[in-house]
């Protein structure tokens, strides 16, 4: 079915001089879509041409609309010779195909040339008229929304999670075609850019089709990757999670202001009686302000779940035991000799899985119960088992390759028809891997994998495929048709206490009963850490204790996950980035030998990385890792391993023991001395870290008899001291080489009754470990870092934010380095990079580097490339302390996680209470006091450049306000909030308009007024602090190649890459702005391949970036949006006051 694509070329500016004689340019534009091309007139002798063309109309299939980019070429007209190309713009039409995304692309876009970079800008207008196709057999999937964000997008509500979708397409790489020998580098680069654009489009369309088949309307956590396999081709693959999303209308939008969900109210306020009885809800101001956002009527005390809920999903014990043992068969199979066939064990996998399929769960029937999400609606995640990961080494086969010299064009479809078996090979590889992941998850007693991601590392013809995720138990409610509401009702439910049920239904170790009834919707904040597997038949050795929070369920001593910290999790202190780095040399080899040696090395690397992580975690006195990402990169003569994660202290898990150093043969005195000094250093570091990260685990002794038993049997011991073979220590990271559960079941827990993690120093590895432990430079004061979305323990972000990318390439000058030497170099390299970041961002202190994403590669022999992308977000220290203090005084248990939620809840209400009381009728309403007893402190209103003056001028006013607040017995005070309150109230005073009106007036005033260039914020996170995302405009997925033959003149490799990255940022920003957006969230730079040849003065670089274009509004403006809401609030608070 056709759609009509319309494009209009308005003008150009800053064009380069193409005619040396006149210092001017005679520019015209070619607009191409598919095989149709239009041209504008030549605009003579100008660097700022005004074409103002007619509307060029393309009538095309919607299938093409999805696949093809609109290609705009700017040329210089030459009467006598061929026209010179100035540059191109590729426009992805996809965002225009969904009715909920953008409607028009309009704005200045940089004209890009692969040799010269950005050369001026062009102003275009693009629209699409789409006639909806209801044909069942259609090949297009217009309207399916794509999100890179790995959580439920902010202004949507998830109705249903359908599950895993994946697709891959393969093509010949134009760079390796015969024609490349005769065409110019520019032509070759453009062919490649265009091809990848086409392939991405096709991939997205195909995934969309799968989603439609499943009945979904969106893909969340869409992850697209390129494998540049060289001569064997180019693979574009993508995975994602199919969902059915409902758009929240602005009026009912929950006040999910930032990263955490306001609707989860963890049971962390034991002193607050509000959660004890629903009837008190309406009276308790602390809790009453949130419901109006999500519930239209007065709070319903108790909303029951649909009674028709199918039988709860419950994996029975025998099942999980069985699964773990059968998994053993799989995982014991060593992966050697990875040809195209894959490992032997896997063949048995799917079969067995089929045999013992759990019929009771809809989820289990899925082929891959895998989710790319890392952040979940409250209640979704029931239990988390641990990290599951799989790696597989493959040889890129050339058999499928067409004979070189084939004159076939690289048009996508042609290729597919000829080498149709090619994608299947790749498909099969990934299928194997996913099966393995699934079986690992089963071994952990889990039915699903969340936080799932896939990656590859390619060197010559060897390819390592990796996948990792977190085994988890999910709430089946979200998988069923007709299950709803992550919003209001959940919130209501989660606040209902179930004293009876909790006690009665939860037998010790009886996991199966926990998903019944209301418990579905109200997982305790500690629920996700409870073990999903069978206590008596653990898949790996771990010390179990009773949960430190609920005292009812067993929890492991340490938890590793790939997901973000769940909003409901209680964390003590702050978190920090923990990295394990490893370098292993390997002999140069070819083909199978090479693959074998790599796959032999892999398990050892994983083990060592894991040990390092564990040691560093202990050193920081933490007990859980989130966002774990292990990357193993292969080079010709070495393997690099880099594991990054965010360590936290989960209050529900036992306190980690220290690290104890033990000499095996305590022979002489000096040796002992040495050990004791080492021990002292380690102990000191641990103490220091505890202070630094504010880890002071609360000693909560509830008078729960069961809890007491838990306490008595509490064992903080570590397994590692136990006489099980070394390799087993690493089993928490599930690999295919993990040990059998038979062995595990024999494990006697009493073996490990030591209170510390023991490092035996005789072991050279241990020495190395200790060295690396202690050489990690401390983070400078004022900085925090993490690789997750947000830092636990920090809530009051300001709007100050800075996204950055840093790339470094190191040359190893010494050819004969030992493993140890390499390790040292690699560690230093990462540490130096971090130090450098801290220094460069020092102006943002206090700040936190969030979503620190390291990518390592070995682009050439002796070269190590490290690329980092992250966002630095500053936060308000004073407010933070004030908030903490106030919370403590209020009698709340000072769990940062809970504190945050409290603050959020109070936010909007406070604003309105403050202003009304302090300005309109300062004395008339003494009864209003209780509502404003707490001043919201976090979520500073965003302040634009140069608003400081405003701030100063209102300072006196503030003091006055403050006095008011204090008089009324407020405990928490915050400069920023009052500011906000003031700015609202001041406008009220000037106008006698009702509150709602005056607010909307204010908002119109603060609308961005005709700035020359829209400021576009970019962040790898899924949110912007202090703002609310009101619209998702579509996915941005761009691929650029830049090449130079004058490397020195462009400032060397650094100059070249610096300007290229800056250009990529600029193009991304311009495209976001053209879609009407003002930010790109979930930004990631997935590929940054850099190649140089300094002797030839040449370099080439490929960059792939992606993210979600969005429109956000400042939280302060947001108040103005639903005037209805505010008035309702006022009335409700007023009513409260009188009661």
């Amino acid at each position: 079915m056709p759609g009509k694509l319309k494009a209009k070329i308005v003008a150009g500016r800053h064009l380069p001089v193409m005619d040396r004689a006149s210092d001017l340019t005679d520019a015209f534009v070619e607009v191409k879509f598919g095989n149709t091309t239009f041209k504008t007139d030549v605009f003579p002798k100008s660097l700022n041409p005004q074409w103002n063309s007619e509307w060029f109309k393309f009538e095309v299939d919607d299938e093409d609309l999805q696949d093809e980019p609109l290609q705009i070429t700017v040329l210089d007209h030459d009467t006598y010779s061929a026209n010179d190309a100035i540059g191109k713009v590729y426009i992805d039409i996809d965002p225009l195909l969904s009715c909920e995304a953008a409607t028009v692309i309009s704005g200045w876009l940089p004209i890009y040339d692969t040799i010269h970079g950005i050369r001026g800008e062009i102003n275009v207008l693009v629209k699409v008229d789409l006639f909806n196709d209801l044909n069942r057999f259609r090949q297009s999937s217009c309207g399916v929304k794509f999100f890179c964000t790995t959580s439920i997008p902010r202004c949507y509500r998830v109705a249903l999670v359908h599950g895993f979708v994946e697709e891959l397409v393969v093509n010949e790489d134009p760079e390796y075609q015969w024609i490349d020998r005769i065409r110019t580098p520019r032509a070759s680069n453009e062919a490649r850019q265009r091809l990848i654009s086409l392939m991405s489009g096709e991939l997205q369309r195909k995934i969309g089709l799968k989603v439609l088949e499943m009945g979904g309307n969106a893909v969340v956590g869409y992850l697209q990757c390129f494998d540049l396999e060289g001569e064997s081709g180019l693979v574009v693959r993508a995975i994602g999670t199919a969902c059915t999303l409902d758009k929240l209308s602005p009026g009912t939008a929950p006040n999910t202001t930032t990263h955490t969900n306001t609707h989860t109210l963890p049971n962390t306020a034991p002193t607050s009686n509000a959660c004890n009885s629903p009837s008190k809800d309406s009276k308790e101001p602390v809790f009453s302000e949130d419901p109006p956002h999500s519930l239209s009527g007065p709070p319903t005390p108790l909303r029951t779940l649909p009674s028709s809920s199918p039988p709860p999903f419950s994996p029975s014990k025998p099942c999980s035991r069985q699964s773990s043992s059968s998994d053993t068969d799989l995982s014991l199979t060593p992966r050697i000799g990875m040809g195209s066939g894959g490992s032997v064990g896997k063949e048995a996998g799917p079969l067995k899985t089929l045999l013992r399929q759990h019929t009771q769960s809809a989820l289990e029937q899925r082929e891959f119960p895998i989710f790319t999400l890392t952040c979940f609606p409250p209640g979704f995640l029931v239990h988390v088992g641990g990290v599951v990961s799989t790696r597989s080494v493959k040889l890129l086969d050339r058999i499928h390759n067409p004979v070189l010299g084939n004159t076939r064009s690289y048009k996508l479809l042609d290729w597919n028809s000829v080498a149709a078996d090619e994608p299947e090979t790749r498909d099969a590889w990934w299928e194997e891997i996913r099966q393995e992941i699934k079986s690992h998850a089963k071994a952990l007693g889990c039915h699903a994998v969340v936080g799932y991601s896939e990656s590859t590392s390619i060197c010559e013809e060897v390819c390592i495929l990796s996948a990792s995720g977190t085994a988890a138990m999910l709430n089946p409610r979200f998988m069923r048709e007709g299950c709803l509401d992550t919003g209001g009702s959940d919130h209501r439910l989660s606040r209902q206490p179930h004293p009876g049920m909790v006690g009665s239904e939860r037998g010790e170790g009886e996991v199966s009963s926990t998903w019944l009834g209301f418990e579905d919707a109200s997982p305790p904040s500690c629920g996700f850490v409870h073990i999903p597997y069978d206590e008596f038949n653990m898949p790996f050795p771990a010390q179990l204790t009773y949960c430190y929070h609920c005292r009812r369920q067993k929890v492991p001593d340490v938890l590793f996950t790939t997901i973000d910290l769940p909003a409901e999790a209680e964390v003590t202190g702050k978190g920090c980035l923990i990295q394990a780095r490893l370098c292993r040399t390997k002999k140069k080899a070819q083909g199978e030998v090479n693959a074998t040696s790599i796959s032999n090395l892999l398990p050892f690397m994983e083990y060592e990385l894991h040990t390092q992580l564990m040691n560093k975690l202990k050193l920081r006195s933490m007990n859980a890792l989130f966002g774990l990402r292990i990357q193993i990169s292969v080079g010709e003569n070495m393997l690099l391993g880099l594991a990054s994660a965010t360590g936290v202290y989960l209050s529900a898990l036992p306190a980690p023991g220290g690290i104890q150093i033990a000499g095996k043969t305590p022979s002489d005195l000096s040796y002992d001395q040495h050990i004791s000094t080492m021990q002292k250093r380690i102990d000191d570091t641990i103490a220091k870290n505890k202070e630094l990260y504010n880890i002071h685990p609360p000693k909560l002794f509830t008078l729960d008899p069961e809890a007491f038993t838990g306490l008595n049997t509490e064992c903080i011991e570590e397994v590692v001291g136990s006489p099980i073979p070394d390799r087993q220590r690493s089993s928490r990271l599930f690999r295919s080489t993990s040990e059998s559960s038979d062995e595990l079941s024999e494990l006697d827990l009493s073996h490990g009754k030591k209170d510390a993690f023991v490092l035996e120093i005789d072991d050279t590895d241990a020495v190395e470990d200790i060295q690396s432990l202690l050489t990690d430079a401390p983070i400078p004061a004022g900085f925090y870092s993490c690789n997750t979305e947000v830092m636990p323990g920090i809530h009051n972000w300001t709007s100050g934010l800075q996204m950055f990318t840093s790339v470094r390439v190191y040359r190893l000058s010494n050819a004969n380095l030992t493993n140890q030497g390499l390790n040292k170099i690699f560690t230093d390299l990462c540490e130096n990079l971090l130090k450098s970041l801290y220094f460069k961002l020092r102006s943002m202190i206090p700040c936190c580097l969030c979503h620190l994403n390291f990518t390592v590669a070995v682009p050439e022999e002796e070269l190590i490339q490290v690329a980092v992308t992250a966002v630095a977000m500053s936060f308000d220290k004073e407010t933070q302390q004030a908030a903490d203090k106030a919370l403590t005084r209020e009698g709340f248990v000072c769990f940062p996680g809970s504190g945050e939620n409290e603050e959020q809840l109070q936010f909007s209400m406070e604003l309105c209470g403050e202003s009304t009381i302090s300005n309109n009728q300062p004395t008339a309403k003494p009864s209003g006091v209780p509502e404003s007893a707490m001043v919201h402190s976090s979520r500073a209103p965003s302040v634009d450049y140069g608003s400081f003056a405003d701030r100063c001028s209102t300072w006196l006013e503030l003091l006055r306000l403050k006095a008011h607040t204090i008089r009324r017995g407020s405990v928490k005070t915050s400069r920023r909030t009052q500011l906000l309150a003031h700015s609202v109230s001041s406008s009220e005073r000037c106008s006698p308009l009702p509150e709602g009106r005056s607010r909307s007036l204010r908002s119109t005033r603060s609308l961005p007024c005709g700035a020359p260039v829209t400021v576009v914020k970019m962040t790898p996170l899924s949110f912007l602090p202090g703002t609310r995302i009101v619209k998702y405009l579509g996915i941005i997925n761009m691929f650029f190649i830049r090449e130079t033959t004058s490397l020195r003149e462009e400032g060397g490799v650094s100059g070249f890459l610096h300007s290229f990255i800056a250009e990529v940022f600029a193009m991304v920003r311009a495209h976001v702005a053209a879609l009407g957006g003002n930010a790109l969230v979930s930004y990631s730079m997935k590929e940054c391949v850099f190649m140089e040849n300094p002797n030839k003065n040449q370099a080439q670089c490929l960059i792939n970036v992606s993210g979600d274009a969005v429109i956000f509004i400042r939280e302060s403006d947001q108040e103005a949006i639903p005037p209805l809401l505010t008035s309702r609030q006022t009335s409700s608070t007023g009513a409260d006051g009188t009661t």
Binding site: I118, A777, S806, Y810, G946, V1053, S1054, L1057, H1058, F1065
Partner: protein, 390 residues
């Protein structure tokens, strides 16, 4: 192990003002491909030879900048090493180098897409880029902004202590502004402000520089050395707003850069004040009457009146000749300021004298050129008052 490549790119371009100043001051980035701290000295010379024309002026390069920053105590409080500082300096220098092209036409900076720079930072970047050293500008003020002058910049650099790189930047700025403004109609200061987005103060200074360069006023003579750039800038401002075509009518086709020909012709008529004996005596007695008893230097004033008056009127009469225009300031100093100074007039004396000297001419019956006289003396008075200091 060596760092082969090291870049740090941010979405919102942040620039350290201190490093920016170092860069502007000519602590030049080495042709940016050299990142190796250890080899920098050896490579310096090589690079210096091959890249001097493009990137370099001072061989000591970015290391200097790093050293200055270290001495400035940047590292205090940060656990960072010289290596980190070097990397940071290189990053910033690269950014500046990429920005430089845009700074050449500041209007572009506001609507370019390559760097996302907050507006107030843009203002800072432009303002600092176009700022100049008064010692340097004093050397080239009134000179032709030509290639020849540019070639002599190394002498200027040696003399003033401003790095050659910085000298070149400043010189190029002057030239760029001159070229753009030269052909434009309308008020000079306003044109500069609009095309280069400079602050009012800086735009006025540039207007002065352009004006001086255009009229080639001599400022380099030894006798003028005591005058600062600000003195000249003030005088230029006076001349621009009173003696140019645009001074009378902003809408006039012509521009602000040239003195009004007709006015200069009219000035010849003032000669009557000194050629006509009666008029000269009458003028003198009027002035003396007014001054008597009001100043200690009265006697010297009375004695020198004719000389001084001849000096000023002769300057006026000669201005039709472009060559003489160039000597305007030197003439003012030689013919008027120096005699007064040797008679130890105070600034107050000077003001008093000039006021009465100007006003008395109105009372003269036979003197018909009041308008021209006022237009001339108004400027002369304020210029002399500005220039009358040690």
């Amino acid at each position: 192990m060596s760092v082969e490549l090291d870049v740090f790119v941010v979405n919102t371009t942040i620039m350290d003002e201190e490093v920016y100043q170092l860069w502007l001051d000519g602590y030049t980035g080495l042709g940016h491909n050299i990142n190796q701290l250890t080899h920098i000295d050896i490579l310096d010379t090589v690079i210096h030879q091959s890249y001097e024309s493009c990137y370099l002026s001072a061989p000591s390069s970015v290391n200097d900048a790093v050293k200055v920053r270290m001495e400035g105590g940047v590292l205090e409080g940060c656990e960072a090493s010289a290596e980190v500082l070097h990397s940071d300096t290189m990053d910033q220098y690269r950014t500046f180098q990429m920005c430089e092209r845009l700074l050449h036409s500041p209007v572009k900076l506001a609507n370019q897409l390559l760097f996302q720079i907050p507006p107030h930072r843009q203002v800072m970047l432009i303002e600092r880029y176009y700022a100049f050293d008064s010692v340097f500008v004093r050397e080239v003020l009134g000179k032709k902004l030509s290639k020849g002058t540019k070639k002599d910049l190394d002498d200027v650099s040696a003399k003033t202590g401003v790095t050659l790189k910085s000298c070149r930047r400043q010189f190029d700025n002057f030239k760029r502004v001159f070229k753009v403004v030269e052909e434009l109609k309308g008020p000079l200061v306003e044109n500069i402000r609009q095309h280069f987005l400079l602050s009012d103060k800086l735009a006025r200074d540039y207007a002065a520089i352009v004006f001086f360069a255009n009229n080639r006023f001599e400022t380099g003579k030894k006798k003028l050395h005591y005058l600062t750039f600000q003195d000249f800038a003030f005088c230029a401002g006076q001349l621009i707003s009173n003696w140019t075509v645009g001074a009378l009518d902003n809408m006039v086709e012509d521009m602000d850069v040239d003195l009004e020909k007709e006015f200069l012709q009219d000035l010849k008529e003032l000669k009557i004040l000194i050629t006509d004996r009666d008029l000269l005596d009458q003028h003198k007695s009027l002035v003396c009457t007014a001054l008597r008893g009001k100043t200690k230097a009265f006697n010297e004033m009375e004695a020198n009146f004719k000389n001084l008056s001849r000096g000023l009127v002769n300057i006026a009469a000669k201005l039709t000749n472009t060559k003489e225009v160039r000597d305007f300031f030197i003439d003012l100093v030689e013919k008027f300021i120096e005699p007064c100074r040797s008679d130890k007039w105070t600034a107050g004396d000077m003001r008093l004298y000039l006021t009465h000297y100007t006003n008395s001419a109105h009372v003269l019956d036979t003197f018909k050129h009041q308008v021209v006289w006022d237009r001339y003396m108004g400027v002369i008075k304020s210029c002399i008052l500005k220039m009358y200091h040690d």
